[in-house]
Amino acid sequence: MGTDPNLQLAVERLHARYAHALDADRLEEWPRFFTENGRYRIATAENEERGLPLAVLYAEGRAMMRDRVQSLRHANIYEPQRYRHMISSVLLEPVDAGVVRSSANFIVLRIMQDGDTVTFASGRYVDRIVLSEMQYEERVVICDSRRFDTLLAIPL
Protein backbone atom coordinates (compact mmCIF):
# COMPACT_ATOMS: atom_id res chain seq x y z
CA MET A 1 0.00 0.00 0.00
CA GLY A 2 1.58 3.24 -1.12
CA THR A 3 1.68 6.53 0.77
CA ASP A 4 0.52 9.75 -0.79
CA PRO A 5 3.77 11.19 -2.26
CA ASN A 6 2.79 14.71 -1.24
CA LEU A 7 2.34 13.61 2.38
CA GLN A 8 5.68 11.79 2.25
CA LEU A 9 7.38 14.94 0.96
CA ALA A 10 5.69 17.15 3.56
CA VAL A 11 6.81 14.92 6.46
CA GLU A 12 10.35 14.65 5.13
CA ARG A 13 10.41 18.45 4.83
CA LEU A 14 9.31 18.76 8.49
CA HIS A 15 12.12 16.40 9.61
CA ALA A 16 14.61 18.36 7.47
CA ARG A 17 13.56 21.75 8.87
CA TYR A 18 13.82 20.34 12.41
CA ALA A 19 17.34 19.01 11.72
CA HIS A 20 18.54 22.24 10.13
CA ALA A 21 17.23 24.36 13.03
CA LEU A 22 19.14 22.27 15.61
CA ASP A 23 22.30 21.98 13.49
CA ALA A 24 22.34 25.76 12.90
CA ASP A 25 21.97 26.46 16.65
CA ARG A 26 18.51 27.98 16.21
CA LEU A 27 17.40 26.27 19.43
CA GLU A 28 14.70 28.88 20.10
CA GLU A 29 12.80 27.44 17.11
CA TRP A 30 12.88 23.91 18.53
CA PRO A 31 9.69 24.09 20.70
CA ARG A 32 7.72 25.45 17.73
CA PHE A 33 8.09 22.16 15.86
CA PHE A 34 5.73 20.68 18.48
CA THR A 35 2.05 21.18 19.26
CA GLU A 36 1.37 23.24 22.41
CA ASN A 37 1.14 20.08 24.55
CA GLY A 38 3.51 18.03 22.40
CA ARG A 39 5.79 15.51 24.07
CA TYR A 40 9.50 14.98 23.42
CA ARG A 41 11.44 12.07 24.85
CA ILE A 42 14.97 10.77 24.29
CA ALA A 43 14.86 7.07 25.13
CA THR A 44 17.22 4.13 24.66
CA ALA A 45 16.42 0.98 22.71
CA GLU A 46 17.37 -1.07 25.79
CA ASN A 47 14.89 0.66 28.10
CA GLU A 48 12.16 0.52 25.43
CA GLU A 49 12.70 -3.23 24.89
CA ARG A 50 12.55 -3.85 28.65
CA GLY A 51 9.38 -1.77 28.90
CA LEU A 52 11.08 0.76 31.19
CA PRO A 53 9.75 4.33 31.00
CA LEU A 54 12.92 6.30 31.84
CA ALA A 55 14.00 9.00 29.39
CA VAL A 56 17.38 10.70 29.13
CA LEU A 57 15.53 13.95 28.38
CA TYR A 58 11.78 14.40 28.67
CA ALA A 59 9.59 17.40 27.98
CA GLU A 60 5.81 17.69 28.15
CA GLY A 61 4.62 20.75 26.25
CA ARG A 62 6.31 23.72 24.63
CA ALA A 63 6.79 25.57 27.95
CA MET A 64 9.03 22.80 29.25
CA MET A 65 10.96 22.84 25.96
CA ARG A 66 11.44 26.61 26.21
CA ASP A 67 12.77 26.08 29.76
CA ARG A 68 15.30 23.62 28.38
CA VAL A 69 16.49 26.13 25.79
CA GLN A 70 16.65 28.95 28.40
CA SER A 71 18.72 26.73 30.67
CA LEU A 72 21.09 25.78 27.84
CA ARG A 73 21.49 29.44 26.93
CA HIS A 74 21.81 30.91 30.43
CA ALA A 75 22.55 28.27 33.05
CA ASN A 76 24.25 25.12 31.80
CA ILE A 77 27.98 25.09 31.11
CA TYR A 78 29.19 22.93 28.25
CA GLU A 79 31.98 23.02 25.74
CA PRO A 80 30.97 24.66 22.43
CA GLN A 81 29.64 21.96 20.09
CA ARG A 82 27.44 21.48 17.05
CA TYR A 83 25.45 18.58 15.67
CA ARG A 84 24.97 17.37 12.11
CA HIS A 85 21.80 15.30 11.66
CA MET A 86 21.39 12.75 8.86
CA ILE A 87 17.79 11.56 8.61
CA SER A 88 16.62 8.88 6.17
CA SER A 89 14.31 5.92 5.51
CA VAL A 90 11.14 7.76 6.49
CA LEU A 91 8.16 5.41 6.66
CA LEU A 92 4.62 6.70 7.22
CA GLU A 93 1.57 5.03 8.60
CA PRO A 94 -1.80 6.79 8.95
CA VAL A 95 -3.15 6.61 12.52
CA ASP A 96 -6.45 8.47 12.54
CA ALA A 97 -7.88 11.38 10.63
CA GLY A 98 -5.35 14.18 10.46
CA VAL A 99 -2.59 12.29 12.30
CA VAL A 100 0.24 10.28 10.78
CA ARG A 101 2.85 8.13 12.42
CA SER A 102 6.39 8.51 11.05
CA SER A 103 9.40 6.32 11.67
CA ALA A 104 12.77 7.59 10.46
CA ASN A 105 16.40 6.60 10.97
CA PHE A 106 18.97 9.13 12.16
CA ILE A 107 22.65 9.60 12.74
CA VAL A 108 23.93 12.62 14.66
CA LEU A 109 27.56 13.66 14.40
CA ARG A 110 28.93 15.90 17.15
CA ILE A 111 31.56 18.47 16.17
CA MET A 112 33.61 20.11 18.94
CA GLN A 113 35.30 23.47 18.50
CA ASP A 114 38.71 21.86 18.00
CA GLY A 115 37.25 19.84 15.10
CA ASP A 116 36.94 16.54 16.94
CA THR A 117 34.00 14.78 15.24
CA VAL A 118 32.30 11.66 16.57
CA THR A 119 29.17 9.66 15.85
CA PHE A 120 27.30 10.92 18.89
CA ALA A 121 24.03 9.04 18.44
CA SER A 122 22.13 6.81 16.04
CA GLY A 123 18.59 5.53 16.22
CA ARG A 124 15.00 6.13 15.19
CA TYR A 125 12.58 9.00 15.44
CA VAL A 126 9.13 7.64 16.16
CA ASP A 127 6.68 10.51 15.69
CA ARG A 128 3.00 11.35 15.77
CA ILE A 129 2.47 14.31 13.46
CA VAL A 130 -0.64 16.52 13.33
CA LEU A 131 -1.13 17.19 9.63
CA SER A 132 -3.18 20.39 9.86
CA GLU A 133 -0.31 22.15 11.66
CA MET A 134 2.55 19.90 10.46
CA GLN A 135 3.79 19.69 14.04
CA TYR A 136 4.96 16.86 16.26
CA GLU A 137 2.36 15.78 18.78
CA GLU A 138 4.93 13.31 20.02
CA ARG A 139 8.57 12.75 19.08
CA VAL A 140 10.33 9.78 20.68
CA VAL A 141 14.06 9.62 19.92
CA ILE A 142 15.04 5.98 20.42
CA CYS A 143 18.82 5.81 20.63
CA ASP A 144 20.42 2.54 19.58
CA SER A 145 23.02 2.74 22.34
CA ARG A 146 22.59 3.17 26.09
CA ARG A 147 25.88 5.09 26.15
CA PHE A 148 26.23 8.88 25.95
CA ASP A 149 29.59 10.54 25.63
CA THR A 150 30.28 13.18 28.32
CA LEU A 151 26.92 15.00 28.16
CA LEU A 152 23.84 15.58 26.06
CA ALA A 153 23.08 19.30 26.00
CA ILE A 154 21.53 20.09 22.61
CA PRO A 155 18.37 18.05 21.89
CA LEU A 156 18.64 15.32 19.26
Binding site: L54, A75, N76, R146, F148, T150
Partner: protein, 407 residues
Protein backbone atom coordinates in the same frame (compact mmCIF):
# COMPACT_ATOMS: atom_id res chain seq x y z
CA UNK B 1 56.17 -1.52 44.66
CA UNK B 2 55.01 1.96 43.77
CA UNK B 3 57.82 4.47 43.65
CA UNK B 4 55.59 7.52 43.87
CA UNK B 5 55.92 9.95 46.78
CA UNK B 6 53.02 12.02 48.08
CA UNK B 7 53.56 15.81 48.53
CA UNK B 8 54.73 16.82 52.02
CA UNK B 9 51.55 18.85 52.67
CA UNK B 10 49.55 15.58 53.05
CA UNK B 11 45.79 15.48 52.45
CA UNK B 12 45.58 19.09 51.24
CA UNK B 13 47.49 18.20 48.09
CA UNK B 14 46.61 15.61 45.43
CA UNK B 15 49.41 15.07 42.90
CA UNK B 16 48.22 14.87 39.30
CA UNK B 17 50.02 11.60 38.54
CA UNK B 18 47.23 9.81 40.43
CA UNK B 19 44.98 10.42 37.40
CA UNK B 20 47.57 9.57 34.72
CA UNK B 21 49.89 6.77 35.77
CA UNK B 22 49.25 3.37 34.16
CA UNK B 23 51.04 1.58 37.00
CA UNK B 24 48.82 3.31 39.56
CA UNK B 25 45.77 2.19 37.55
CA UNK B 26 46.94 -1.46 37.60
CA UNK B 27 47.71 -1.30 41.32
CA UNK B 28 44.26 0.17 42.04
CA UNK B 29 42.68 -2.86 40.39
CA UNK B 30 44.52 -5.18 42.79
CA UNK B 31 44.61 -3.15 45.98
CA UNK B 32 41.24 -1.43 45.79
CA UNK B 33 38.71 -3.07 43.46
CA UNK B 34 39.92 -6.65 43.97
CA UNK B 35 41.15 -5.79 47.46
CA UNK B 36 39.40 -5.35 50.83
CA UNK B 37 36.51 -3.20 49.60
CA UNK B 38 32.79 -3.75 48.98
CA UNK B 39 31.86 -3.01 45.37
CA UNK B 40 28.33 -2.18 44.23
CA UNK B 41 27.08 -4.81 41.75
CA UNK B 42 23.39 -4.12 41.00
CA UNK B 43 19.95 -3.68 42.52
CA UNK B 44 18.10 -6.73 43.82
CA UNK B 45 15.18 -5.45 41.73
CA UNK B 46 17.27 -6.20 38.63
CA UNK B 47 17.24 -9.88 39.67
CA UNK B 48 13.50 -10.26 40.19
CA UNK B 49 13.14 -14.06 40.26
CA UNK B 50 15.09 -17.31 40.77
CA UNK B 51 17.59 -17.92 37.88
CA UNK B 52 17.71 -14.17 37.01
CA UNK B 53 21.17 -12.86 36.17
CA UNK B 54 22.90 -9.61 35.26
CA UNK B 55 26.46 -8.90 34.14
CA UNK B 56 28.46 -6.10 35.71
CA UNK B 57 32.01 -5.09 36.70
CA UNK B 58 34.24 -4.83 39.71
CA UNK B 59 36.90 -2.47 38.40
CA UNK B 60 38.13 -4.05 35.16
CA UNK B 61 36.90 -7.52 36.17
CA UNK B 62 33.69 -8.71 34.45
CA UNK B 63 31.23 -10.25 36.92
CA UNK B 64 28.03 -12.32 36.73
CA UNK B 65 25.45 -11.78 39.48
CA UNK B 66 22.80 -14.49 39.57
CA UNK B 67 20.03 -15.93 41.72
CA UNK B 68 20.06 -19.71 42.02
CA UNK B 69 16.80 -21.70 41.79
CA UNK B 70 16.26 -21.16 45.55
CA UNK B 71 16.58 -17.38 45.09
CA UNK B 72 19.98 -17.00 46.82
CA UNK B 73 22.37 -14.41 45.37
CA UNK B 74 25.77 -15.29 43.95
CA UNK B 75 28.47 -13.29 42.15
CA UNK B 76 31.43 -14.69 40.27
CA UNK B 77 34.02 -13.65 37.78
CA UNK B 78 32.71 -13.83 34.20
CA UNK B 79 35.70 -15.86 32.98
CA UNK B 80 35.75 -19.50 31.89
CA UNK B 81 38.05 -21.86 33.82
CA UNK B 82 39.22 -23.32 30.51
CA UNK B 83 40.55 -20.56 28.24
CA UNK B 84 39.35 -17.41 29.96
CA UNK B 85 36.49 -16.41 27.64
CA UNK B 86 33.44 -14.57 28.93
CA UNK B 87 30.97 -17.19 30.16
CA UNK B 88 27.94 -14.92 29.92
CA UNK B 89 27.59 -12.50 27.00
CA UNK B 90 24.10 -11.13 27.64
CA UNK B 91 23.54 -8.08 29.80
CA UNK B 92 20.66 -9.62 31.77
CA UNK B 93 17.93 -12.25 31.66
CA UNK B 94 17.16 -15.64 33.13
CA UNK B 95 19.18 -18.80 32.57
CA UNK B 96 19.00 -22.46 33.62
CA UNK B 97 22.79 -22.66 33.39
CA UNK B 98 25.72 -20.66 31.99
CA UNK B 99 27.55 -22.23 29.07
CA UNK B 100 30.74 -20.76 27.66
CA UNK B 101 30.26 -20.56 23.89
CA UNK B 102 33.91 -21.33 23.13
CA UNK B 103 34.03 -25.03 24.19
CA UNK B 104 30.70 -25.43 26.01
CA UNK B 105 32.10 -25.64 29.55
CA UNK B 106 29.09 -25.13 31.78
CA UNK B 107 28.50 -23.42 35.15
CA UNK B 108 25.68 -23.23 37.67
CA UNK B 109 24.28 -20.00 39.19
CA UNK B 110 26.98 -19.98 41.85
CA UNK B 111 29.78 -20.15 39.27
CA UNK B 112 30.61 -23.83 39.89
CA UNK B 113 31.91 -25.76 36.88
CA UNK B 114 29.32 -28.50 36.33
CA UNK B 115 30.06 -29.95 32.94
CA UNK B 116 32.99 -30.20 30.49
CA UNK B 117 32.18 -31.14 26.90
CA UNK B 118 33.70 -34.47 25.75
CA UNK B 119 35.42 -34.82 29.12
CA UNK B 120 35.80 -38.57 28.60
CA UNK B 121 36.43 -38.32 24.87
CA UNK B 122 34.47 -40.30 22.29
CA UNK B 123 34.79 -44.02 21.76
CA UNK B 124 37.74 -44.24 24.13
CA UNK B 125 39.71 -41.63 22.22
CA UNK B 126 40.52 -38.07 23.28
CA UNK B 127 39.13 -36.48 26.41
CA UNK B 128 40.76 -35.25 29.58
CA UNK B 129 43.19 -37.29 31.68
CA UNK B 130 41.55 -38.69 34.83
CA UNK B 131 43.73 -36.50 37.04
CA UNK B 132 43.16 -33.27 35.07
CA UNK B 133 42.63 -30.32 37.45
CA UNK B 134 39.81 -28.67 35.55
CA UNK B 135 38.76 -26.45 38.48
CA UNK B 136 42.24 -25.09 39.12
CA UNK B 137 41.50 -21.90 37.14
CA UNK B 138 37.83 -21.56 38.05
CA UNK B 139 36.26 -18.10 38.04
CA UNK B 140 36.80 -16.20 41.27
CA UNK B 141 33.79 -16.14 43.58
CA UNK B 142 32.76 -12.98 45.37
CA UNK B 143 31.28 -12.70 48.83
CA UNK B 144 27.87 -11.11 48.34
CA UNK B 145 25.81 -9.00 50.74
CA UNK B 146 22.75 -6.93 50.01
CA UNK B 147 21.48 -4.00 51.99
CA UNK B 148 17.94 -2.66 51.47
CA UNK B 149 17.91 -3.77 47.84
CA UNK B 150 21.51 -2.84 46.89
CA UNK B 151 23.82 -5.77 46.09
CA UNK B 152 27.53 -5.53 46.87
CA UNK B 153 30.39 -7.99 46.37
CA UNK B 154 33.98 -8.41 47.49
CA UNK B 155 36.85 -10.74 46.65
CA UNK B 156 38.29 -10.23 50.13
CA UNK B 157 37.90 -12.74 52.97
CA UNK B 158 39.16 -10.15 55.43
CA UNK B 159 36.93 -7.14 54.88
CA UNK B 160 34.29 -6.61 57.60
CA UNK B 161 30.55 -7.00 57.00
CA UNK B 162 29.02 -4.48 54.58
CA UNK B 163 27.31 -2.50 57.37
CA UNK B 164 30.53 -2.29 59.39
CA UNK B 165 32.44 -1.27 56.23
CA UNK B 166 30.02 1.61 55.59
CA UNK B 167 30.15 2.66 59.23
CA UNK B 168 27.83 4.51 61.65
CA UNK B 169 28.31 8.00 60.13
CA UNK B 170 26.95 7.16 56.66
CA UNK B 171 24.82 4.00 57.14
CA UNK B 172 21.76 5.83 58.60
CA UNK B 173 21.76 8.14 55.57
CA UNK B 174 21.67 5.12 53.22
CA UNK B 175 18.79 3.54 55.16
CA UNK B 176 16.95 6.87 55.11
CA UNK B 177 16.37 6.57 51.35
CA UNK B 178 15.97 2.81 50.85
CA UNK B 179 12.79 2.47 52.86
CA UNK B 180 10.74 0.09 50.69
CA UNK B 181 11.26 -2.48 47.90
CA UNK B 182 12.60 -0.80 44.76
CA UNK B 183 11.32 -0.69 41.19
CA UNK B 184 13.70 0.02 38.29
CA UNK B 185 12.61 2.89 36.02
CA UNK B 186 15.46 2.56 33.55
CA UNK B 187 19.20 2.84 33.03
CA UNK B 188 21.82 4.47 30.85
CA UNK B 189 25.57 4.99 30.75
CA UNK B 190 27.47 8.27 30.71
CA UNK B 191 31.01 7.97 29.36
CA UNK B 192 33.33 10.38 31.16
CA UNK B 193 36.62 11.51 29.57
CA UNK B 194 38.56 11.29 32.81
CA UNK B 195 40.03 9.11 35.52
CA UNK B 196 37.48 7.42 37.81
CA UNK B 197 38.81 9.23 40.88
CA UNK B 198 38.05 12.63 39.36
CA UNK B 199 34.40 11.64 39.31
CA UNK B 200 34.41 10.39 42.94
CA UNK B 201 36.28 13.54 43.91
CA UNK B 202 33.59 15.64 42.17
CA UNK B 203 30.78 13.77 43.94
CA UNK B 204 32.40 14.44 47.33
CA UNK B 205 33.09 18.08 46.53
CA UNK B 206 30.33 20.03 48.32
CA UNK B 207 32.09 23.30 47.44
CA UNK B 208 31.49 23.07 43.67
CA UNK B 209 27.79 22.18 43.59
CA UNK B 210 26.24 25.64 43.59
CA UNK B 211 29.14 27.28 41.73
CA UNK B 212 29.50 24.99 38.71
CA UNK B 213 25.84 24.05 38.43
CA UNK B 214 24.18 27.34 37.60
CA UNK B 215 20.77 25.74 37.29
CA UNK B 216 20.88 25.01 41.04
CA UNK B 217 21.70 28.57 41.94
CA UNK B 218 19.59 30.47 39.43
CA UNK B 219 16.51 28.57 40.56
CA UNK B 220 17.61 28.68 44.21
CA UNK B 221 17.46 24.90 44.35
CA UNK B 222 20.68 24.60 46.31
CA UNK B 223 22.81 27.38 47.66
CA UNK B 224 25.48 27.00 50.28
CA UNK B 225 23.42 29.39 52.44
CA UNK B 226 20.68 26.75 52.71
CA UNK B 227 20.78 24.47 55.71
CA UNK B 228 22.67 21.29 55.12
CA UNK B 229 25.66 19.29 56.19
CA UNK B 230 28.19 16.63 55.42
CA UNK B 231 28.95 13.27 57.04
CA UNK B 232 32.30 11.56 56.48
CA UNK B 233 33.17 8.03 57.67
CA UNK B 234 36.02 7.72 60.17
CA UNK B 235 38.42 6.41 57.52
CA UNK B 236 37.41 9.14 55.06
CA UNK B 237 36.26 6.58 52.49
CA UNK B 238 32.50 7.23 52.43
CA UNK B 239 30.47 10.42 52.62
CA UNK B 240 26.99 11.88 52.55
CA UNK B 241 25.92 15.46 52.04
CA UNK B 242 22.41 16.88 52.24
CA UNK B 243 20.49 20.12 51.77
CA UNK B 244 17.15 21.00 53.31
CA UNK B 245 14.16 22.19 51.32
CA UNK B 246 14.03 25.70 52.79
CA UNK B 247 13.75 28.41 50.15
CA UNK B 248 16.74 30.73 50.38
CA UNK B 249 16.13 34.48 50.18
CA UNK B 250 19.68 35.60 50.92
CA UNK B 251 21.83 37.56 48.51
CA UNK B 252 25.29 36.28 49.55
CA UNK B 253 26.01 35.21 46.00
CA UNK B 254 25.01 38.52 44.44
CA UNK B 255 27.12 40.45 46.96
CA UNK B 256 30.21 38.43 46.06
CA UNK B 257 29.51 39.03 42.36
CA UNK B 258 29.62 35.33 41.58
CA UNK B 259 28.90 34.19 38.05
CA UNK B 260 26.47 31.54 39.19
CA UNK B 261 24.04 34.07 40.69
CA UNK B 262 23.61 35.87 37.39
CA UNK B 263 22.30 39.35 36.79
CA UNK B 264 18.61 38.56 36.93
CA UNK B 265 16.19 36.08 38.35
CA UNK B 266 15.57 33.18 36.05
CA UNK B 267 12.24 31.41 36.30
CA UNK B 268 10.89 28.21 34.86
CA UNK B 269 7.71 28.45 32.81
CA UNK B 270 6.80 24.90 33.81
CA UNK B 271 8.19 24.04 37.25
CA UNK B 272 6.94 20.46 37.36
CA UNK B 273 10.52 19.21 36.98
CA UNK B 274 11.17 20.61 40.46
CA UNK B 275 7.97 19.89 42.37
CA UNK B 276 8.97 17.74 45.30
CA UNK B 277 6.82 15.66 47.61
CA UNK B 278 8.54 15.26 51.00
CA UNK B 279 8.34 11.48 50.77
CA UNK B 280 10.77 10.74 53.61
CA UNK B 281 9.16 13.33 55.91
CA UNK B 282 12.41 15.11 56.83
CA UNK B 283 12.41 18.04 54.39
CA UNK B 284 15.65 16.97 52.74
CA UNK B 285 15.75 18.25 49.15
CA UNK B 286 19.01 16.71 48.02
CA UNK B 287 21.16 13.95 49.43
CA UNK B 288 24.28 12.67 47.71
CA UNK B 289 25.96 9.64 49.26
CA UNK B 290 29.14 7.90 48.13
CA UNK B 291 30.73 4.62 49.15
CA UNK B 292 34.35 3.84 48.36
CA UNK B 293 35.49 2.92 45.82
CA UNK B 294 32.83 3.56 43.18
CA UNK B 295 29.22 3.86 44.30
CA UNK B 296 26.90 6.86 44.52
CA UNK B 297 23.29 6.97 45.73
CA UNK B 298 21.36 10.13 45.05
CA UNK B 299 18.07 11.63 46.15
CA UNK B 300 17.56 14.82 44.18
CA UNK B 301 14.06 15.91 45.13
CA UNK B 302 12.07 12.76 44.14
CA UNK B 303 14.65 11.46 41.69
CA UNK B 304 16.40 8.39 43.12
CA UNK B 305 19.31 6.59 41.50
CA UNK B 306 22.28 4.31 41.94
CA UNK B 307 25.40 5.31 40.04
CA UNK B 308 28.15 2.75 39.50
CA UNK B 309 31.59 4.12 38.63
CA UNK B 310 33.45 1.72 36.30
CA UNK B 311 37.05 2.61 35.41
CA UNK B 312 38.05 2.00 31.79
CA UNK B 313 41.73 2.99 31.76
CA UNK B 314 43.48 6.01 33.25
CA UNK B 315 41.54 8.58 31.22
CA UNK B 316 38.10 7.05 30.76
CA UNK B 317 35.26 6.13 33.12
CA UNK B 318 31.81 4.69 32.61
CA UNK B 319 29.07 5.90 34.88
CA UNK B 320 26.19 3.40 34.95
CA UNK B 321 23.03 5.14 36.12
CA UNK B 322 20.04 3.10 37.31
CA UNK B 323 17.05 5.26 38.21
CA UNK B 324 14.43 3.75 40.45
CA UNK B 325 11.32 4.36 42.48
CA UNK B 326 9.50 2.17 44.98
CA UNK B 327 7.48 -0.88 43.97
CA UNK B 328 4.36 0.63 45.51
CA UNK B 329 4.65 4.05 43.82
CA UNK B 330 1.40 5.29 42.33
CA UNK B 331 1.04 6.67 38.81
CA UNK B 332 1.54 10.29 39.93
CA UNK B 333 4.74 9.53 41.84
CA UNK B 334 6.21 7.56 38.92
CA UNK B 335 5.40 10.44 36.58
CA UNK B 336 7.02 12.89 39.03
CA UNK B 337 10.19 10.78 39.19
CA UNK B 338 10.31 10.56 35.38
CA UNK B 339 9.96 14.34 35.00
CA UNK B 340 12.58 14.98 37.68
CA UNK B 341 14.94 12.61 35.85
CA UNK B 342 15.55 15.73 33.72
CA UNK B 343 17.73 16.97 36.59
CA UNK B 344 20.21 14.09 36.37
CA UNK B 345 22.17 11.96 33.93
CA UNK B 346 24.02 13.05 30.77
CA UNK B 347 21.26 15.55 29.89
CA UNK B 348 20.57 16.51 33.52
CA UNK B 349 20.02 20.19 34.27
CA UNK B 350 22.22 19.84 37.35
CA UNK B 351 24.57 17.04 36.44
CA UNK B 352 25.54 17.50 32.80
CA UNK B 353 28.42 19.76 33.79
CA UNK B 354 30.14 17.17 35.99
CA UNK B 355 31.38 15.17 33.01
CA UNK B 356 32.68 18.32 31.37
CA UNK B 357 34.42 19.73 34.47
CA UNK B 358 36.21 16.50 35.40
CA UNK B 359 37.27 16.07 31.74
CA UNK B 360 38.73 19.60 31.86
CA UNK B 361 40.90 18.57 34.82
CA UNK B 362 42.12 15.44 32.99
CA UNK B 363 43.09 17.62 30.00
CA UNK B 364 44.39 20.52 32.06
CA UNK B 365 46.92 18.49 34.03
CA UNK B 366 48.35 16.62 31.02
CA UNK B 367 51.70 18.41 31.25
CA UNK B 368 52.01 18.50 35.03
CA UNK B 369 52.19 15.08 36.69
CA UNK B 370 54.60 16.76 39.12
CA UNK B 371 52.06 19.39 40.25
CA UNK B 372 49.10 18.97 42.63
CA UNK B 373 45.52 20.05 43.44
CA UNK B 374 45.13 22.48 46.33
CA UNK B 375 42.37 21.20 48.63
CA UNK B 376 42.36 23.52 51.64
CA UNK B 377 38.75 24.74 51.76
CA UNK B 378 37.64 24.15 55.35
CA UNK B 379 41.22 23.52 56.52
CA UNK B 380 43.16 20.28 56.53
CA UNK B 381 40.85 18.03 58.51
CA UNK B 382 38.66 15.10 57.49
CA UNK B 383 35.33 14.86 59.29
CA UNK B 384 31.63 15.64 59.49
CA UNK B 385 30.20 19.15 59.88
CA UNK B 386 27.31 21.49 59.19
CA UNK B 387 29.04 23.59 56.51
CA UNK B 388 29.31 22.59 52.90
CA UNK B 389 31.87 25.32 52.11
CA UNK B 390 34.51 22.71 52.71
CA UNK B 391 36.52 20.07 50.91
CA UNK B 392 36.57 17.74 53.91
CA UNK B 393 34.96 14.82 52.04
CA UNK B 394 37.44 15.21 49.16
CA UNK B 395 40.32 15.00 51.63
CA UNK B 396 38.61 11.90 53.04
CA UNK B 397 38.71 10.21 49.64
CA UNK B 398 42.46 10.75 49.42
CA UNK B 399 43.09 9.70 52.99
CA UNK B 400 41.34 6.41 52.23
CA UNK B 401 42.91 5.99 48.79
CA UNK B 402 46.42 6.38 50.22
CA UNK B 403 45.72 3.79 52.90
CA UNK B 404 44.59 1.21 50.34
CA UNK B 405 47.42 2.05 47.93
CA UNK B 406 50.22 2.35 50.53
CA UNK B 407 51.31 5.64 48.92
Amino acid sequence: MLQRAWPAEGVTRVPYWVYQDEEIYREEQTRIFRGPTWNYLCLEAELPEPTSFITTFVGDMPVVVARDPSGALHAWENRCAHRGALVCMQRSGTAERFRCIYHNWTYDHAGNLTQVAFRNGIGGKGGMPADAKLESQSPKKLRVESIHGLVFGTLSDDVASLEAYIGPEVLPRLKRVLVRPLKVLGAYTQVLPNNWKLYMDNVKDTYHASLLHLFFTRFRINRLTQKGGVFVSHDGAHHCTYTEMVEDRGDDYEKDGMRSAGSQAFRLEDARVLEQVDEFGDRVAIQILSLFPGFVLHQIRNSLAARQVVPKGTGRTELHWTLFGFADDGEAMTQRRLLQANLVGPAGYISMEDGAATGFVQRGVAGSPDRASVIEMGGATVGSGDSRITETAVRGLWKAWRQYMHV
